[in-house]
């Protein structure tokens, strides 16, 4: 069996001295799609930030291996270059930085990390246009300042565009479905499905079944109070949709 992409062992973490992840274990293998479902405030986004290295979170125990490397020892940009991607619940607007310019910096950073030559403007634009077209993102949007004044749907599509350019080994989608109408949801899901293959993996953080009807999960985890309380196949998500989180959280 090949090496896991992500291996979280007994992870505990605090934010502002409050323990928010408690002894969490999770292994994700190549080709797998995992869904992490849980009530508001369970610490799902916190987990995604700890994995990507956002400052302000303190790991108090455990370890995380990413493609055989000690993830927690890497800087956020190194984690990204090594193939970890987070589609954020609230993508950040950066006034003054044009979207296409931002994307070029990101892609070239990864190429540099991999020892590949940086792309010039023309080469980059060719790649960008192809990927953007798949997500119905026009040239106008690429010229705008990144995420500045973008609608909810535009922001989520922009996250998936970044994912499609960076081709991560593991993409964490943090509520990629929130604020999307049915058409936009399908566009995002199609984009993600197109990128998924046997060599990479997805960790989908969501409240709802909707997205999981478009992106089929192999394993569904119920996450509450800082750790996984139950794992199963997709039927678990369907059961959850019927009975709510309360059953699982109380049963613990």
């Amino acid at each position: 069996m090949s090496e896991p992409i992500l291996e979280i062992k007994n992870l505990s973490a605090t934010v502002a001295d409050k323990e928010i992840i408690k002894n969490l274990n999770l292994t994700i293998n190549p080709g797998e799609v995992h869904a992490l479902m849980g009530p508001n405030g369970a610490g799902k986004s916190t987990l995604s930030y700890i994995l990507t290295g956002k400052p302000g979170y303190e790991v108090t125990g455990g370890e995380v291996m990413f493609c055989g490397k000690n993830l927690l020892a890497m800087k956020p940009d190194e984690r990204a270059c090594a193939g970890l991607f987070l589609s954020m619940q609230y993508p950040v607007a950066i006034p003054g930085v044009a979207t296409n310019n931002f994307l070029k910096h990101a892609l070239n950073a990864k190429r540099k990390y991999e020892g590949l030559p940086e792309l010039d403007a023309a080469e980059f634009l060719k790649i960008l246009r192809t990927e953007a077209k798949n997500l119905n993102i026009g040239a106008d949007m690429l010229k705008r300042e990144i995420n500045v004044g973008f609608s909810g749907g535009e922001k989520k599509r922009m996250e998936i565009l970044q994912m499609s350019l960076l081709k991560p080994s593991l993409a964490i989608l943090d509520e990629a479905d929130s604020g999307l109408d049915i058409d936009a949801l399908k566009l995002v899901a199609d984009g993600v499905n197109k990128l998924h293959n046997e060599n990479n993996a997805l960790l989908i953080i969501t409240h709802h079944l909707d997205l999981l009807n478009h992106i089929q999960p192999d394993i569904v985890h119920i996450y509450a109070d800082g750790h996984i309380v139950k794992s199963g196949d997709k039927s678990l998500a369907i059961e959850l949709e019927k009975s709510g989180y309360k059953t699982f959280v109380d049963a613990e």
């Binding site: 940009d77 990204a80 950066i94 990101a106």
Partner: protein, 412 residues
């Protein structure tokens, strides 16, 4: 030798009115002396003026030995004028029909400078401009004649290489006649280690005229640079100034603008970036003296290390200046604990039907933006650089001439 007692002979001391004017400047300077903590207009930057005892004006004739390049390699076409070590190079200038430029001494000799020279400000209120008057000699008079639209920017390079403590005293008179339009670019560069520039520009905009005034201060970090820009505007004239200041001991750009008649419009925008221990001072005084006049100011700076950024913005609205608009905003990124940013807005409003606003912010780079970029693989150093560029870009976007904006950005 102090600045007030230079043992030099200047051209034209035998011309009574000129000698009288110089005397008046010296008296005004002796009365005020160098700025101190009590000089309101200098309260944040007087210290950076530093030692002046060893400063010497070089009153010898300009003899260019060809050590300086008289043509700058620019990515846009321009008419080029050059100062070498504080002295105007050449006597004849390649300029189009309707545009004339002559050395200040020639304009004094011809007498055509008389209606303008020292007419736009009162020496008593500005110590360095008073000193500039005391040693009037170097500089030029530029006239854009009525209705002339100059097709290319007029690029004025002030290049310094000397390594002695030299006081470069330069006075330029710029007259834009009615309906004329021009762009001037002032570029200060060179690796002089003891240079103190004291430049005064007197700018006169006639009715319906327009001047775009760009300035890039890019001298050695050991330079002291004071520039006083006194602007007088008649009806419906438009003056837009953009100033960019880099690291040096002191870079002070002062705009003193009088909107004399209805419809006059003035804008002063600027950026500064300091990394070590320099001082950048942008001081404005925009005086709305007639109804329906408008002014805008946007200045953004980046301060790191032990550096200091100063913005002082005065907007004066006279009682008769009804229906005027004056806006001002200064924003700074303070990237270190030992840096300093001082901002002093002063609004004096004596009319009741006006729109005026001022604002100031000071803070570090946005942590969410930094993390977002890092989470996309961009390292922290590059992310900071990109965010700083983006921060300043907002001001660069206000430059009408895109080629000039890109050139400034590339040099900055």
């Amino acid at each position: 030798m102090s600045l007030a007692e230079q043992n030099i002979t200047l051209w034209g001391d035998d011309i009574p009115w000129l000698a009288g004017l110089r005397e008046k400047g010296l008296i005004a300077f002796n009365k005020s002396g160098l700025p101190t903590a009590k000089t309101e207009a200098w309260k944040y930057s007087f210290k950076a003026v530093g030692q002046t005892e060893n400063l010497q004006i070089d009153a010898s004739a300009h003899e260019c030995d060809g050590h300086c390049h008289h043509q700058c390699d620019l990515p846009f076409e321009a008419y080029q004028i050059h100062f070498c070590d504080g002295k105007l190079h050449g006597e004849h200038f390649d300029l189009p029909q309707g545009v004339s430029l002559k050395p200040l001494v020639e304009a004094i000799y011809d007498g055509d400078v008389k209606p303008y020279l020292n007419k736009s400000f009162d020496t008593e209120n500005f110590p360095f401009a008073a000193l500039n008057t005391a040693y009037l000699e170097q500089g030029f008079m530029l006239i854009i004649e009525r209705g002339i639209v100059v097709d290319k920017p007029i690029f004025i390079r002030y290049h310094t290489e000397h390594n002695t403590d030299t006081f470069n005293n330069i006075r330029n008179i710029i007259v834009v006649e009615s309906r004329a339009k021009a762009e001037i670019i002032e570029f200060f560069d060179g690796d002089s280690t003891g240079n103190f520039n004291n430049v005064v520009n007197e700018i006169f905009l006639a009715a319906d005229s327009s001047l775009r005034h760009y300035k890039l201060q890019s001298e050695s970090a050991l330079t002291r640079h004071i520039s006083f820009n006194s602007v007088q505007q008649k009806s419906n004239s438009s003056y837009k100034c953009f100033v960019a200041q880099k690291e040096c001991i002191l870079a002070r750009h002062e705009s003193y603008i009088k909107l004399l008649q209805e419809g006059a419009f003035a804008e002063v925008n600027g950026i500064y970036k300091l990394n070590e221990n320099g001082v950048s001072d942008i001081t404005t005084n925009i005086r709305h003296l007639a109804p329906h006049t408008t002014s805008n100011q946007l200045v953004k700076g980046v301060v790191d290390g032990h550096a200091k950024g100063v913005f002082q913005g005065q907007i004066h609205i006279a009682p008769e200046a009804q229906q005027t608009e004056g806006y001002q905003l200064h924003r700074a990124l303070l990237l270190s604990d030992s840096g300093e940013v001082d901002c002093k807005p002063e609004l004096e409003i004596f009319a009741d039907d006006v729109k005026c606003s001022h604002g100031a912010t000071c803070g570090d780079l946005d942590k969410e933006q930094l993390f977002y970029m890092q989470s996309r693989g961009i390292n922290s150093e590059d992310a900071r650089r990109i965010l700083i560029e983006a921060y300043l870009q907002e001001v660069l976007n206000k430059i009408d001439n895109i080629e000039v904006a890109e050139w400034i950005k590339a040099q900055f």
